[in-house]
Structures are given as structure tokens and as C-alpha cells.
């Protein structure tokens, strides 16, 4: 399936709709649902950042949890140990750490392996990061970091206290909307189109003068640092950072969102993350059923609707248009 373009006239209203939906949540739902809403917003960024590398550059990473965890731990450590630092600096540091890890992984592995092999290398590197996190004293070993307080952002003329009420929730919605917009620009601009070219035909792309290895590396670093940012935003929201964030099974979450929603669509992972959030909420009390449901759903999507939910909708829409258009009637 070809990668769908997203025009500003389509994207901006859709983003506004999502943000509006997210802003309504605290007024109509209880605290548990608000927490889940924040997690879903972060998952939207987590998923789209993965898909930026997957659908655009053809990089399948099974190690995105390590980027998320590195971001979360970086933010958790700096917030608890170096709390004089401004929160924006902490977020940038987290993004830098994630980007650095992605750079190292990419430099070592991206040129030598692709497809399934690259996926397995990221799996191994991710497992290494997980083990290291569990064993390092300053990262709290098995227990992780606790008491990651929500920060106060100092704007000079006034302080924004994110610890009060639902303030941090609104901060999450705003920063996630910003990150999604940034990724939309990357998806649609010249850089994104060159990634698409090298994915669909690497040889022709390199004849056209695209430096394939460099572009792929940049795509991975961008994906890694944005994922780390999502992790850094998550840390004060959960107020605890645990090694489970780095476990390889968490790496498959963005994959799940992407395939569920449709990897060919920019907002596919967003749709997937929201659907998954609803599904998780509906099955939260049923032990075993949730695994069965998630696994069965993912299997069904890969086997019968490889385009995901949005792909299915697009197909149905095209069919509906074809059957209702007058041209078709003339031919018939």
C-alpha cells in the first residue's frame, strides 16, 4: 500500500479534533480515566515516532522501549537528583540521550543489517539496556526511581505549577500535539519524501543522489530522540519509573498501535493507540483475556487487514465512491 500524504487542510482539523477530545476528558471522567488519557496521548507520540522510521524509512526496530526508558530514566533521575534544572532543559537532555543511543545503535547496526536482522539486533541491544538499568544503583536497580514529582516551569514573569490539579495533563496534551505536528512536518517535507524514495527503491534513490545510509541514520535518530521525549514526559505523569519500561515486550507496543491503525497513514498509530487504550480499559479486570485479545487482534490485523483500521476505512470509502459514482452506472 502506498504511503498516504496528509495535506495541512486535512491534518490540522484532525489534530484540532484530537486535542479537543483530549481536553474534554478531565471535565467528564474520573481521575483514573484522565491518567489513562495522558498515557494514550504519550502513546500516540510513541507510536508515530516508531512509524516515522518504519513506514517511511523501512526500519523495523524492536528496541523502541529502550529509547522510551532512557528518556524516562533521564527525566526521572534529573527531576529527583538535580531538581534545580529547568524542566525544559531536562526534556532536552532526555531527547539528547535517546538520540545518542539511537545514533550508536544505528552506526553499529544499520549499515550491516536490514529488515528482520536489524529488528533482532535492536532486540538484543534493548535487552542489554534493560539488564543494565536493572543493575545500576543510581537508577534504583529493580525498584526503579520513585517520587518523580511534577515540575514547576519558571517563565520568568510567572511560574507554571504543573503539580496542581490537572495541569500536567494539559501540559501532556499540549506537548504531544506539538510533537505530532513536528513529526507531521518531517513526514510530509522533502526529507520525508526522500526517505520514502529510498525505502521503495534504494538503488534508484542512490542514483538520484540520496545518501541512503545517512538518511536512514537520521530517521532512526529522530525516531529515537522523539521517543525518548515521550518517555521523559511520561516520567512525572506516572511519578515512578520502573525497568519494565525497558523490557522488550514494551517495544512491541508502538508496533501494535501502528499496525492496528494502519502503518501507511500518518495518524494510523494515533488511531491505534486510542483504540488500544479503549480496549485495555475495557478488559482491565480480566486476567489472561487481555493478552488473548491483543494477540488475537494483532494476528487478525496482520492476516486479514494489513492496512489497519484506516486502511480498511479507506478501502470501504473507495468502494462506496465507486459504486455511487455516475460513471460506474454508465459503464454498467
Amino acid at each position: 500500500m502506498s504511503i498516504a500524504r496528509v495535506r495541512p487542510a486535512v491534518f490540522l482539523p484532525l489534530l484540532a479534533l484530537l486535542v479537543a477530545g483530549a481536553l474534554i476528558v478531565p471535565h467528564v471522567a474520573n481521575r483514573g480515566v484522565v491518567f489513562l488519557g495522558g498515557v494514550v496521548a504519550i502513546n500516540v507520540v510513541f507510536g508515530i515516532a516508531f512509524n516515522l522510521a518504519f513506514a517511511k524509512a523501512g526500519i523495523l526496530s524492536f528496541g523502541n522501549a529502550m529509547f522510551f526508558a532512557v528518556g524516562a530514566y533521564c527525566a526521572g533521575y534529573l527531576v529527583t537528583q538535580q531538581n534545580h534544572l529547568p524542566f525544559v532543559v531536562i526534556l532536552l537532555a532526555a531527547a539528547g540521550c535517546g538520540g545518542l543511543l539511537a545514533l550508536v545503535t544505528g552506526l553499529l547496526a544499520l549499515r550491516r543489517a536490514s529488515g528482520v536482522y536489524f529488528a533482532v539486533i535492536t532486540l538484543a541491544v534493548g535487552a542489554l539496556v534493560h539488564v543494565l538499568i536493572m543493575k545500576l544503583d543510581f537508577l534504583g536497580r529493580n525498584d526503579g526511581l520513585i517520587g518523580v514529582n511534577r515540575p514547576i516551569i519558571d517563565f520568568g514573569f510567572f511560574d507554571l505549577d504543573l503539580a496542581r490539579g490537572d495541569a500536567y495533563y494539559y501540559f501532556i496534551v499540549a506537548s504531544c500535539a506539538l510533537l505530532v505536528t513536528l513529526m507531521w512536518v518531517l513526514w510530509s517535507n522533502r526529507f520525508g519524501r526522500s526517505l520514502q524514495a529510498l525505502k521503495s527503491d534504494p538503488m534508484r534513490a542512490s542514483f538520484l543522489g540520496i545518501d541512503i545510509d545517512r538518511k536512514r541514520l537520521i530517521a532512526l535518530v529522530l525516531s529515537g530522540s522523539i521517543t525518548a521525549l515521550a518517555g521523559a514526559i511520561y516520567a512525572p505523569w506516572a511519578q515512578i519509573v520502573t525497568p519494565e519500561l525497558a523490557h522488550w515486550s514494551f517495544s512491541t507496543m508502538p508496533l501494535l498501535f501502528t499496525l492496528l491503525g494502519g502503518s501507511a497513514f500518518f495518524l494510523g498509530p494515533a488511531v491505534g493507540a486510542i483504540l488500544f487504550g479503549l480496549l485495555e480499559y475495557a478488559t482491565r479486570s480480566l486476567v489472561g483475556i487481555s493478552d488473548l485479545l491483543v494477540g488475537g487482534l494483532l494476528l487478525a490485523v496482520v492476516l486479514s487487514v494489513p492496512g489497519g483500521v484506516l486502511g480498511l476505512l479507506a478501502t470501504l470509502l473507495a468502494r462506496f465512491r465507486a459504486s455511487s459514482s455516475p460513471q460506474r452506472e454508465e459503464r454498467a
Binding site: L60, L108, A109, R112, A113, G115, V116, Y117, A119, V120, I121, L123, A124, V125, A127, L128, V131, L132, K135, W248, S249, T252, L255, L259, V287, G288, I289, S290, D291, L292, L293, V294, G295, G296, L297, L298, L299, V302, L303, P306
Partner: protein, 295 residues
């Protein structure tokens, strides 16, 4: 000192053969179908639970024949499941990109986790070794439980059986032909799709057998699949994807790494293991032994 060395070697062999038992089916299926099967660990785990259920009828004292019979039951049950998985999943993914196949088998792993949690619950379950294998041998200062020796012997026996079938029989020769070029094999009159089916059945039966043989080696929990699949992936990758001999050698190599790190870096379990795998992959992404790949 000699005792330490023997202990390290022995521990290496226990880890190596337990992991090889799981990895053998994984590497077989990858060698022939080119499917890297995440769910292999899940079916290994279900095999263990099936053996547990069979053995729970015997009470505390389990005779060796019952233990072996339970492993056989698990093996047959998983082989049967293999037919269903092949029909419902693998056959339909033949024309799909390898990346999606990997994701589909991961989904199957989640289904396995769910099935185990639903039927057997979240608690840790355990089976004691058969009553003939509760002794301990002493060799030069090293302590060797007879059950651990049983695990090592099982691994070696499974390896020898597979190696003989692949390299010394006509069925094995057909397998090697298909591994190299399935299209050409079809032209010369080999029923490729039937060989694919039998490979999957054998691979899954090996997973079930491993689950049954190792059921007393560690406690059973829904985490078992994830732990073993990562170890088995490491062995399959380092050994050169799809090679049974490679997997055997790689399991011993990684077993040594694991035993050495358990002795000298006891506070950092797994660090050396994953670092070794990452290093091997980066230096030789096609695996250490891929040139000698047998199938």
C-alpha cells in the same frame, strides 16, 4: 580450582543444552520456511504446562517413564497445534514481507501467554524431577545433580538425532535442497508444501518435547516463554540462522559466557550474554557459523 572449572563447565552445559532443546525447533523452522518464530517460546511453555498437568496425576513421586511419557504427550500435542498454526497463519503469510511475519508470530506469542494465564493461572507451578534422578554425583569437587545430567544428555541426544536425519537420510537431503532453493525443488518434483508442513510439525513437536523434558528444570510461570525465547534467539542468531549444528555450537559458546558471567560477575546476570550477542551481530550479522550452515 579444578572443582571450580568443572562446575563452570557443567553449568555451561546445563544452560547450553536446555537452551538448545528450545532453539533446535526454532532454527529448523527458520532454516526451511525462513520464519523467525517468536511464538516458539510460547509453545515451549505450553508444552511444559501440558507435561505438568499429565504429571500432576502421579503425585509427589514421579517415575522416570512417566516423566518421559509426559514429555512425549506434550510433544505430540504441540506437533498437532503446529498443523493448525501452519494452516491458519504460516501458509497465509507466504507472500508477505518478513517484517510482518515476525509481527504475526509475536501476536501468536501473546495468544500463548493469554491461553496459559487463562488455563493455568498466574502462579508459579513446579514439578519435582523423576524419583530415579534425585541423586547427586561428585566429580573432582563439583556437585552434579543427576537430573541436570539428564538435561545435558537429552540435549545431546536431540542434537545427534536431528543431525543424523538432516545429513544422513534422504528426507534430510530433501530438506537441504528446499532450504537452498524451494522453487527449483518444486520443479524437480518435490512436494514443497508438504515438506513445509512437516517441518512446522517437527519444529513445534520439538518445542513441546523441550517443554516436557525441562518441566522440572525450572518453575513454570507465564514469564517462561519470554525468558527462553530471548535465549533461543541468541543461540539461533549466533549460530547462523537456520543451522542446527551452528545452534548446537553457539549454545555451548553462549552457555560458557553465561556460566563465566554467573561466576565472575554474579551481580550483573545477563549483561555479558546480551553484550556478546550484540557484539557478534555487529561484527557478523549473518552469525558466527553461517558458512557451515547445514540447513
Amino acid at each position: 580450582m579444578a572443582g571450580d572449572l568443572i562446575t563452570i563447565l557443567f553449568n555451561a552445559m546445563i544452560w547450553a543444552m536446555a537452551t538448545f532443546l528450545v532453539a533446535s525447533g526454532l532454527t529448523l523452522v527458520f532454516g526451511i520456511l525462513h520464519v523467525l518464530n517468536f511464538s516458539h517460546g510460547g509453545f515451549f511453555m505450553i508444552g511444559g504446562y501440558v507435561a505438568y498437568t499429565v504429571l500432576s496425576t502421579f503425585g509427589a513421586e514421579i517415575p522416570l517413564w512417566a516423566y518421559l511419557a509426559a514429555a512425549l504427550v506434550a510433544s505430540v500435542a504441540m506437533g498437532g497445534t503446529g498443523i493448525a498454526v501452519d494452516t491458519l497463519v504460516f501458509r497465509r503469510l507466504k507472500s508477505v514481507d518478513g517484517v510482518y511475519v515476525l509481527i504475526a508470530t509475536y501476536a501468536l506469542l501473546l495468544v500463548c501467554d493469554g491461553v496459559v494465564k487463562l488455563i493455568w493461572g498466574l502462579n508459579y507451578l513446579s514439578v519435582s524431577p523423576p524419583r530415579e534422578l534425585l541423586d547427586v554425583l561428585f566429580l573432582g569437587g563439583a556437585i552434579m545433580p543427576t537430573f541436570s545430567i539428564f538435561v545435558v544428555v537429552s540435549g545431546v541426544v536431540v542434537f545427534l538425532a536431528l543431525d543424523v536425519v538432516i545429513n544422513r537420510t534422504s528426507a534430510g537431503r530433501i530438506l537441504q535442497v528446499i532450504a537452498v532453493d524451494p522453487w527449483m525443488a518444486g520443479i524437480v518434483g518435490i512436494n514443497v508444501s508438504s515438506v513445509y508442513r512437516w517441518t512446522v510439525i517437527t519444529g513445534f513437536a520439538l518445542a513441546g518435547l523441550a517443554g516436557g523434558l525441562l518441566v522440572a528444570n525450572q518453575s513454570l510461570s507465564p514469564d517462561l516463554a519470554g525468558i527462553f525465547i530471548l535465549q533461543a534467539f541468541g543461540v539461533v542468531i549466533v549460530g547462523g540462522m537456520g543451522s542446527v549444528r551452528g545452534a548446537f555450537v553457539a549454545s555451548i559458546f553462549l552457555g560458557l559466557v553465561e556460566a563465566l558471567s554467573a561466576t565472575y560477575l554474579p551481580n550483573y546476570p545477563g549483561v555479558l550474554f546480551f553484550a556478546t550477542i550484540a557484539l557478534v551481530l555487529i561484527v557478523r550479522p549473518e552469525g558466527l557459523l553461517s558458512r557451515q550452515a547445514t540447513s
